[in-house]
Symmetry: D2
Subunit: 138 residues, 4 copies
Amino acid sequence: MTADIFSHPVRVYFEDTDAAGIVYYANYLKFMERARTEWLRRLQVPHHALMAAQQGVFVVKDVTLQLSAPARLDDLLDVTCCITQIRAAALMLGQTVEREQTRLAASTITLVWVDGQRLAPRRLPASLLNVLPHPQSG
Amino acid sequence: MTADIFSHPVRVYFEDTDAAGIVYYANYLKFMERARTEWLRRLQVPHHALMAAQQGVFVVKDVTLQLSAPARLDDLLDVTCCITQIRAAALMLGQTVEREQTRLAASTITLVWVDGQRLAPRRLPASLLNVLPHPQSG
Amino acid sequence: MTADIFSHPVRVYFEDTDAAGIVYYANYLKFMERARTEWLRRLQVPHHALMAAQQGVFVVKDVTLQLSAPARLDDLLDVTCCITQIRAAALMLGQTVEREQTRLAASTITLVWVDGQRLAPRRLPASLLNVLPHPQSG
Amino acid sequence: MTADIFSHPVRVYFEDTDAAGIVYYANYLKFMERARTEWLRRLQVPHHALMAAQQGVFVVKDVTLQLSAPARLDDLLDVTCCITQIRAAALMLGQTVEREQTRLAASTITLVWVDGQRLAPRRLPASLLNVLPHPQSG
């Protein structure tokens, strides 16, 4: 884990798998969300605190997901989260899922910050901007 | 379907199965919840209307679940919902999952009506009591 | 629904929503998968029959997902499935989620046909090719 | 954690919550399953090894679940697993979910050991019996 690449371990349980014997594709997005939640917690801005203090929430706007090899029951995965761009009302993240240095999945995620009632876009709160790392190039 | 036994069809998709090739046990509780939601919709009291009009919500308090045979991918299931008892702040339901008249699962569920903010028990709203069928004996 | 656009209704239940009050983003991929499963069933090639006859299965390789407006509890959604390209070992699909003619989500999905044991790519089975509609342009 | 009470931490993510702002009831069964999977891993008999060596799998037969207080987003939960009875082809477990020493949920689970093909009950494998702790009284 370099200074800017956050990694979070995820264990694969029966709930994550399907009748093809592998992790169900939508569940990789759950793993990605867990990792970026822990990344925010590490930055001292967990979701519930942001929601309570700012009356806002992140919603996902755009996702790409490439699956190159399947994860299976009992696998221990590393899920990374790396910020790639900061916009006025949005964050862009790059995330991966690896098993013993082999990449299984890669994802780009655009999160938009919205008010909690109408879900309309709002400028990212200062309390968040103050702690976000600079996006990585490349 | 007799006068008082509501039945709702549920198809089994990959999302519902696990690496043992069968429906993951927790997902039967999703199927049960879908059926009782449709039962409430049939009674003209869908969840979102109850929540909006009464500022309350049903929360599950007690569950029993017996699984006698597994459901599998692509199965078409019938999920029933039958009211067994009405209390001041709670409903007790009996629910089953069947595939072609064979019972796969049976459940008893106690739902408590609570206010939406503090989740404290409240008397069942009159708009609900007015439309609920009488509990079945036996 | 035109001749080549398949549409499948999906109701939103509590299981699909999250604490932000809207459908959890990963669950749109469940809705997409249900619709393309029903599309295959309509073509008389349901998953379990393909798996049994061909000893193979579809796995998802690439996904894009754009979320333009949130779905909420009790919403009734239309999920479409449209084939956009047929390759030797893969299908490319375009899928959308709409609520009363308003598009909430759009997705592109690449499915690869693999053998059931090693999950290695295999040519699409003839029984499938024989029934697939021609991809739509545009 | 006493000698015989295994405890596993579970963090609550958006995926676990629903539009009522609390953990969706079926997801407590996922938390229970994660904890008993980790309990088996601690005993050196993880699911995939049992499945590979014995050609069998545990299926859930009976569940009771009492929910006394809701878990919420970002909660850190302790999920326990305690064996209460060993039968020829089944294990009975007691499990709880706690948040800072407050019990939120309690469950009893009967797991039946079945062969992987026909899912018919089989005697518990010796490799498992050799490592299981004695059931707790009381």
